[in-house]
Symmetry: C2
Subunit: 463 residues, 2 copies
């Protein structure tokens, strides 16, 4: 007999259906004449109730083994539930206990544990309601991302994790090496002799796949990355990870307008798909974690995003009837409080701000005709702030080279990036989305360490 | 007007349809009265032909700019082609050149370049027929992998790339550090003081996500990883990469039988899907790269895999009417020549060999009742050799701990892995598939460096 997933039974199971279910006991309550066992197999938030009659063979001994965390297989028949809280339940004919779980020592007790405590139990915390729901939503969101791009003919491209350049200059890097740290080879000048390292030069973990994605877009027109990226920033906050996943689409023959259109369609798609695929999990987050998550999702799905220029944004902020902590001035970057004001208070829906001053944006963003701004865009969402950052890329070789030099970057090292502009250059654009940030916002989880299975942060690489 | 992808036009375009296409020129031939321009946008192997009549405005100047590698947008109408080699072509009304490409210096000339030469042009090589086909197949295969598991209710789980343990013991590791290599902090004993490193201890790039995937399977029943893994092996061969992608499903309540069933269904699915989605690319590989790739795919899709034990395999090899370079003896690992003999010559179809001697397999594989073998399996395919390796995992705590100690591994460090057996342990199984190996076999490409966009190998981390 093949097993049936609990999510299928809860959604579609009918009385008299014979089933085999396999999962872990969440609770067992023995009342007069019956034991009620709540089983979970990770396919759904809700448990499936198994009602064991005291006539069941070896009833007493069996019920004693069905402790929290123990694993079982149950064969039986579905029956309409008489009790509250569930439509259907299982009348068992055979119960097999695979692995017991000593309730005295099992680290997950029935009481509510703090998320911080659970982080110390990275090997067990996915068995809790909240983390279970998070990782089902994470999977649904991942899957929606691939679906969105594949349906539109984008290729998933795998850009390298190990890189010999730091051309984005996006903060601190992890070194990747096979040199003996106690006794590294040295040059006659006393420097580390990287010619003897694995790659023959210093190597790092990547901070972005964008530049390589541009290479691929110049051959396949539309591509996206979805992979891990790294920051060696010593930031112990609820929104930073040293290792996290990024999504970076890159489109040839695309300008800022097309980029904004894609970003809006993309966000709507992933929120909509997750609501459709994980309705119980999303309802749970709305009830238990953050009462605004469904409203925020609804807001993103059902509103046309507002689109304003950075210059207009500054004007709105200057007129705002409130005091900001950080200064508002043309040429300064927008802070989180400014972004949230625009999305949450002023427009009450997602806002795309475009055309930022060139001084606060990366060298590869396309210079506008005003010579002061670049064709950058940030998507700001209510309760969330910046969720996507992107730009049209500078496709004109002479201007790109000037911008590289203005930014004190190594022209020589970027020879291949410049070649893309030398041979068949095209207008192109793309954006980046921090995947864990999105899952955090979607679920309302307060700490980003609780939306990735095994978070890497300063002083922590457990499991 | 929205652009139409060339693959759509080639497959479904009809005469009189108005189209906008955007792409790169592969060749331009000016004959008497006409210029024939072959355009490619990366969506298909074949080019779309644009026929420019000499009456076209600025004909002479325009054609001069349509050199190999230049980028253009063409508006026009589809017409049935009079020429050989294509069903349909474009009669242009408007042609815009975005980026020129100096034919004197453009590194990709029309002549055939060696793959080795092209590796030095990682930023341009995807514009060639072969590499273009490879990366379309790679994408289709990636997509088929996600589809296979998602349809079966598996969760995609992201296991960590940076890890503080080397419990698989699978060879040499890359260190990940933020310590200053020239002047690392030392303990009073003169050792490197890793308490001052980013993670507070030595950290490495992972060689496998399996152990963490087991954690997730114990909560969600069925999960899979699909992400990068690393080996710091100094192997300069056509089958080794320092950075490559792995697929690792892990199933709770699953034994070796279920594992073999899944592996067989999985391989059939990915080969079948790629043939359906990339028929022209696969035909191209069969014609130009390796005349056996279609037959091999067909063999995998349409045969029931043979299943034999290791002990039976040894008996077959001992009886074989040929001489092997490596010895055949119970207890020794099978070499590539043995594996290929079984799949290619003896059974002439994929073979799953199971139940290997415990001495040649990893500590986590389940000990069989004979106390000599473990519930391991390798899938061997004709022309390919080993394509999948997997096992049922040891779910019994006492036996696992004995195996850990027998392998001289740190019992203490694996506390969380042992906890999985202490609390609600279940029979479980999984396997691993090297993604680039599969793409290499699928396409017949001789060197694994040509099936990943930016290969990382000893002394090489370019682009």
């Amino acid at each position: 007999m093949n097993k049936t997933r609990i999510v299928q039974i809860l959604r579609h199971g009918q009385p008299d259906e014979a089933v085999l279910i396999q999962g872990w006991v969440r609770t067992t309550r023995a009342l007069k004449g019956f034991a009620f066992v709540e089983l979970n197999d990770g396919s759904a938030l809700a448990n499936l109730q198994v009602v064991i009659n005291e006539d069941f063979p070896d009833y007493e001994a069996l019920v004693k083994r069905l402790t929290i965390g123990s694993s079982v297989a149950v064969e039986g028949v579905l029956v309409a539930s008489q009790g509250k809280g569930q439509r259907i339940e299982v009348n068992p004919s055979k119960i097999q206990v695979f692995g017991e779980s000593d309730p005295e020592t099992y680290p997950l007790q029935k009481k509510r544990h703090s998320f911080e405590f659970l982080r110390g139990l990275g090997h067990l915390r996915s068995r809790t309601n909240t983390l279970g729901a998070v990782f089902r939503v994470r999977n649904a969101c991942s899957s929606a991302i691939h679906q969105f791009f594949q349906e539109r003919g984008f290729l998933w491209v795998h850009t390298p994790l190990i890189t010999a350049s730091d051309c984005e200059g996006a903060g601190e890097l992890f070194s990747v090496t096979t040199l003996d740290p106690k006794n590294p080879p040295k040059t006659p000048q006393g420097e580390i002799d990287y010619s003897q390292d694995f790659f023959g030069k210093p190597a790092y973990l990547t901070v972005s796949g964008q530049l390589e994605a541009e290479i691929m877009a110049m051959a396949f027109s539309d591509v996206y990355t979805f992979g891990p990226t790294f920051r060696a920033e010593n930031s112990n906050t609820s929104r930073h990870l040293a290792e996290f996943w990024m999504v970076e689409p890159e489109m040839a023959f695309c300008d800022l307008q097309g980029n904004m259109d894609l970003a809006e369609a993309f966000l709507k798609h992933i929120f909509k798909t997750v609501l459709e695929q994980c309705p119980e999990d999303m309802e749970f987050f709305n009830q238990r974690i953050d009462q605004t998550v469904l409203a925020t999702a609804d807001n993103i799905i059902n509103n046309q995003f507002e689109r304003i220029s950075y210059t207009e944004a500054i004007a709105f902020l200057e007129k705002a009837d409130r005091k900001f902590e950080y200064p508002v001035e043309w040429g300064l970057d927008l802070q989180s409080e400014h972004e949230r004001y625009l999305a949450e208070e002023l427009f009450k829906k997602p806002v795309i701000v475009r055309d930022y001053p060139k001084g606060i944006k990366a060298f590869y963003m396309r210079l506008n005709d005003d010579n002061q701004t670049v064709a950058a865009m940030d998507v700001l969402a209510p309760k969330i702030g910046e969720i996507i950052g992107g730009s049209q890329r500078e496709e004109r070789l002479d201007i790109l080279e000037q911008r590289i030099q203005d930014n004190q970057m190594p022209l020589e090292e970027l020879w291949w990036y410049r070649d893309l502009r030398r041979y068949g250059t095209v207008p192109h654009a793309g954006f980046g989305l921090g995947f864990e940030r999105v899952v955090q916002f979607m679920t309302g989880m307060g700490n980003i360490r609780d939306v990735i299975p095994f978070p890497r942060t300063p002083m922590n690489a457990e499991f």
